[in-house]
């Protein structure tokens, strides 16, 4: 599979955030997106996820499932954790697993981020790092070939960071694509690096 972006531009509130962004990723590639605050890292990920319209440019996915949009084949993990405080940890993940249609095993996905002991706890009582881990557990529970991760390391402790790196490595070895926005190293050597904003 091959994901190409051609000359993407992004406007937010009438202000140009970036323009002329092009990249081409093949299966097994991880792209690191860096840049100062406000350079448009999150906006780029949201454009790829279909949550924001680019001002100009094109996105093209070759291969992958027929008749499914890029968004339907992508995991988007943004700054917000998309959790409901009144539902338990297991219920939150079980809902997304059914809704996104991966049919994966919830408890084993929770175990990937060491959340199994908290399965019955309402999500309201989780710490920021635990919320992030539960949000990332979607990656393990549901198989989708494109991962769009917006600063996934934030709020994670070292053990969890290592678990995420291991998960990304397995995803890459299976031929998956990932675009990761981050300020620091992500523990894996990225195949591409895209620097946004003034250099």
């Amino acid at each position: 599979m091959r994901l190409t972006a051609h000359d993407l531009a992004c406007l937010r509130g009438g202000r140009q955030v970036f323009a002329g962004v092009s990249f081409a990723l093949a299966g097994g590639d991880i792209m690191l997106v860096t840049g100062p605050n406000g350079a448009g890292k999150s906006s780029l990920l949201r454009i790829v996820a279909g949550l924001l319209r680019p001002a100009s440019g094109r996105l093209l996915l070759e291969g992958g499932t027929k008749d499914a949009s890029i968004a339907e084949q992508a995991h988007y993990v943004g700054h917000q954790d998309a959790l409901k405080p009144t539902l338990s940890v297991a219920e939150n993940l079980a809902f997304w697993t059914t809704f996104l249609g991966g049919g994966g095993e919830v408890m084993s996905a929770l175990a990937v981020f060491d959340l199994a002991p908290l399965a019955r706890l309402p999500a309201a009582y989780l710490s920021a790092g635990q919320r992030r881990r539960l949000s990332l557990a979607r990656l393990a529970a549901i198989k989708r070939p494109i991962w769009l991760l917006d600063e996934p390391m934030s709020a994670l402790d070292q053990a969890s960071q290592a678990r995420l790196v291991e998960l990304m490595r397995r995803h890459r070895d299976r031929g998956g694509l990932a675009i990761v926005a981050a300020h620091g190293p992500i523990g894996l050597a990225p195949a591409h690096e895209l620097r946004l904003g003034p250099t």
Binding site: L52, T86, F99, G101, R138
Partner: protein, 222 residues
């Protein structure tokens, strides 16, 4: 279709648990209807005459109350983004949320209404038509409000905008709902015509609401 049921069940669970919206609507309905006899005075004849209208007003305001959280809550915690990357068409995603909203805010009203009808001295013979009209009309209130909720999702303080957009559109529901529930006017024109028009309005909003709301959400991508 699994995704549809999963979303429906999730939304109902959230609404029914502590802090959910289900009880707020029913309690608000109760407050509106119970305070009217105190404001109007103990004139049973008058209460009996305005009773159906009071119940309808209460139902309208109670369903509006929880509506502005319908998409806003999912928007704030990022769930809406993930919902939009699902394989379920956005229209069906919205339909599931709307059905869950009606089941948790509209249906409780139907159970409380007969009790409140006693309090307002509504003729027992009128309770049947009133309940029939309410059970047909409250889904329409939800599905019309849906469009406003979707439009206001990306705006701050969308609640006010929601009321301004939605209230005028609900007036026909109110007019035909009350005239189908009211024995005096039903004696003049018959229960049939008003109730049939109410059914038509309800079915139209059921079909158009999810599409209009999906268009509004897509347009507001941001």
């Amino acid at each position: 279709m699994n995704a549809f049921w999963a979303l429906l069940i999730r939304d109902m669970r959230i609404a029914l648990r502590a802090g959910g919206g289900a009880l707020i609507g029913a309690v608000f309905f109760l407050i509106v209807v119970v305070t009217v006899p105190f404001a109007v005075g103990p004139d049973l004849k008058l209460l009996g005459r305005i009773g159906p209208a009071v119940l309808w007003l209460g139902a309208l305001l109670a369903s509006l109350l929880a509506l502005d959280r319908l998409f806003a809550a999912d928007h704030e915690d990022g769930s809406l983004d993930i919902l939009m990357t699902g394989e379920l068409p956005l229209e069906l995603t919205i339909l599931a949320k709307a059905v869950a909203h009606w089941l948790t805010t509209g249906v409780p009203l139907l159970f409380v209404a007969p009790l409140l009808g006693l309090m307002l001295d509504i003729d027992p013979a009128a309770m049947g038509p009133l309940l029939a009209a309410l059970s047909v009309g409250t889904p329409a209130l939800t599905f019309i409000g849906l469009v406003g909720a979707a439009l206001s999702v990306s705006l701050r303080r969308g609640g006010l905008l929601l009321a301004v957009i939605v209230l005028p559109l609900t007036i026909p529901i109110l007019v035909f709902g009350v005239s189908a529930s009211d024995l005096a006017s039903a004696a003049r024109a018959g229960f049939g015509p008003a109730f049939t028009i109410l059914c038509a309005l309800s079915l139209a909003s059921l079909v158009l609401g999810p599409f209009a709301a999906a268009a509004a959400l897509r347009h507001g991508l941001d």
